[in-house]
Every structure is written in C-alpha cells, then in structure tokens.
Symmetry: C2
Subunit: 229 residues, 2 copies
C-alpha cells in the first residue's frame, strides 16, 4: 500500500470514516442493515446529524462501502484458508464460520437485495476472486472430476459460458462443482441464519456437514449420466 505522505487532515478524515464504519458494523450486527441510521451514528460519535454527510455522501454510499468491506473480509478469509491447504470441506467450513460470526453481515452480502442498489464493479471483482479460490480448491481436490469423466449437460453448457471464471484453467465439470458448492452452502446458511430451522430440532451444523459430504463424495464417486434432462 503506497502510503502517499498523508496530511494530518487526510489522516483525521480517514480515521473518522473508519470510526463511522465501525459504528455502522456494530449497528448492523445487532439489528440488521435495515436498522442502520446515520443520525444515530452521528449522535453516538458526539456530533449532530448532518455532519456525517461530510464523510459519506449518503446512506447508500456507506452501505456500498460496508458491502465492499464485507466481500473483502470473506475473500481474505477464504484465501487464507486455501493458503493453509484447505480442501473443499474445510473451505465450506470457513464460509460457515465467517457467516456465523456475523449473520447480518452475511445477509448484507447474500440476502435480500436492497431495492435501488446496484453493485459497483469493485464488488464483482472481489466476487470473482472468491470464485477463483473455489476453483483452485476444487482443482486440488483428490477426487475432483477431470476432463475425462462423463460430462453433465450443465457442464457442457458451462463449456460455452465460462467467461465468469476469468481464464481459470479448470475443466467445465469443476466449474459446475464450484457453482454447486456455492449454491449448497448458500442454501443451508441462508435457511439456518434466517431461523428457518428453529423449532425443527435437528442440528444445523450436522446438516451442513452432510450437504458438503454429499457434494464431495458424489464428486469422488463419479456420477451416472442423468437420464432425464
């Protein structure tokens, strides 16, 4: 990071912006993103309402920044896990750990989209980085599908629509596996964190493990070509 001789003012400004974000995260963690209030943050920081607009153009800009930081934290976590030699299972567990750490942060990124909001390019770049970690990890997985295995129809489709993998060398079957991992993790986590399992009595973590086990073992066993579309 090029620390380009910051003036004291710039440093102060950056520090205040950071403090605002800090309060914002605390607020989100306790009451969800919808409860985020610039006014309340300002008062918490001892200054009055509109002062915050010197630091963030508005609620949307602050939320955008939070989303960007959220993606960044997940990407870093997964990258670190991968660097530690995590396999697919460990990677999935890393995602779950990250999500349980702050469920509302998870929902900020992967929950109900906010009406008018449109993700800036930076977040899609980080998303691609996350996808790259998934692809790398699947590629290293012992029983991962290879180019020789029979190809599912959807893998064939991905052969022609793999721009999102940004030149990653993984074969289409691995792209398919990575998307499945993403979707299945998302499925369990969004249900679990939204409280859809409460009252059902079974262990959500055990279910999560079962889903990942299924994903990994059916990949290792190879799979019969599906009969019906």
């Amino acid at each position: 990071m090029s620390a380009k001789t910051e003036t004291p003012r710039e440093r102060y400004r950056a520090q205040v912006r950071a403090e605002i974000k800090d309060h914002a995260w605390r607020q989100i963690a306790t009451a969800g993103a919808s409860a985020l209030s610039l006014n309340a943050i300002a008062k918490l920081m001892g200054m009055s309402g509109p002062a915050l607009y010197r630091y963030y153009a508005g609620r949307d800009e602050l939320i955008t920044e939070l989303i960007k930081d959220g993606y960044r934290s997940l990407a870093d976590r997964l990258r670190a896990a991968a660097d530690d030699g995590a396999d697919v299972r460990a990677l999935a567990r890393a995602v779950r750990g990250w999500a349980l750490e702050d469920p509302n942060r998870f929902f900020l990124l992967y929950g109900t989209p906010v009406p008018g909001y449109h993700a800036p390019d930076e977040t899609t770049v980080i998303s691609a980085e996350i996808m790259a970690v998934l692809l790398d990890t699947w590629s290293r997985e012992p029983g991962a599908p290879t180019a020789e295995d029979p190809e599912t129809p959807f893998a064939a489709h991905l052969r022609d629509h793999r721009a999102w993998s940004r030149g990653h060398p993984a074969p289409p079957a691995v792209l398919h596996r990575a998307l499945s991992l993403w979707a299945r993790v998302q499925g369990v986590l969004s249900l679990e964190l939204a409280g859809q399992f409460t009252g059902m009595g079974f262990d959500a973590e055990a279910f999560f493990e079962a889903e990942i086990t299924d994903l990994v073992t059916t990949a290792a066993a190879g799979r019969p070509a599906p009969s019906a579309q």
Copy 2:
C-alpha cells in the same frame, strides 16, 4: 368455510382489508418489502394516513398477514402440484415458478429476516404443511432411498430428531432427502433472484435443473457411505 351471516359492516371491513393487502402486494412486488408504506397505501386508496390503523394495528401486523398469505400461496401451489402427480423434479420446478412469479414475495418469506419480527404459530403450521408435501412426494419417488439403504450419519441423527416431520411415516433417509431438496432449491433461488448470477453469463434455469437432477439421480443410484465425518 362457515359463512356466518356477516353484517354489512363486517363485509365492508373485510373488503377494505383485502384492498389494503392488494396494494401492499403490488408495492412489495415492485420495490420490495422494505419499501412498504402504510401512508402511501392510504393515499392510494383515497384516504388519509392514520385511517389504515383501523384495519391493521401497524406495519408489523400487515407484514405478518402478508407473510402468512405468502406461505399459504406456496403451500397451495405445491399441494396442487402434488395432487397432479408431480414427482420431486416437478415439485422443485413448481417452487421455482412460484418464486419467479414474484421474487420479492420469495424474499419476504425466505430472505433476510426482519429485525424484531417473530413468526406466529400459523406460519410454522403452514411450513409444516409444505414439508409434508415434500415428504409425500419423496416417498412416492421411484428411486427414493428406503429403510434398507445404508444410512448417512445425518439420517441417523434425524432418526432421533424427527419431531418436525409431525408423525410422517417416511424413513430418515427420506427426511434427509427432503431437507436437501429444500436447501438446494433455496440455494439456487436465493442466489439467482438476488442477482448474484447476473453478469456470469450461464443459464440459471439450467443450473437449477442440474442441481435437481443431481439430487434425484444420486438418490436413485444410492450412495457410498461417506468416509470422513
């Protein structure tokens, strides 16, 4: 339905409540649940603000009613599909069709939970009804797991935690399958409808089909006992 000789007043009241819900659904469909405004609905109906509080105690009660109706509509849809002899695949497609019909309705039920809100008993009853349809359909599925198949660890866990199935005779392996179906459908749909796939270029419907195909075919093929965990 016992039409218990309604007075004209009661009929009027019921009709106004229905009209309010109608506007609310329209608002939710176009701008999401967070944009739902009692004030705006009142003005749209030609009456001024607080008049609505004669019909709904507050925003929360209206949303609760909408959520209940939402679950009802999904449950009815699935029940109808099952009555038409739908197999697991068709049932999954029915869920997706229902979700695509009004994505914000899907998110109202299965998206980011609203902070203070707690689901009333009625919705959990309807949820159980939906689950029953899933279990029925899986039980009828030709290649569904039986009590003789080797049992996954999670199915064993479900053997002792199956209160949520409310006395349904399906074996634990089928309970497991039903939960998997739920989670996998939820995974693809929440990502797709939140726009997480936009810009990636592949066909979300094809991915959905592939997920269901995988779920159904691995069930039919039986599965090797997982080595780890």
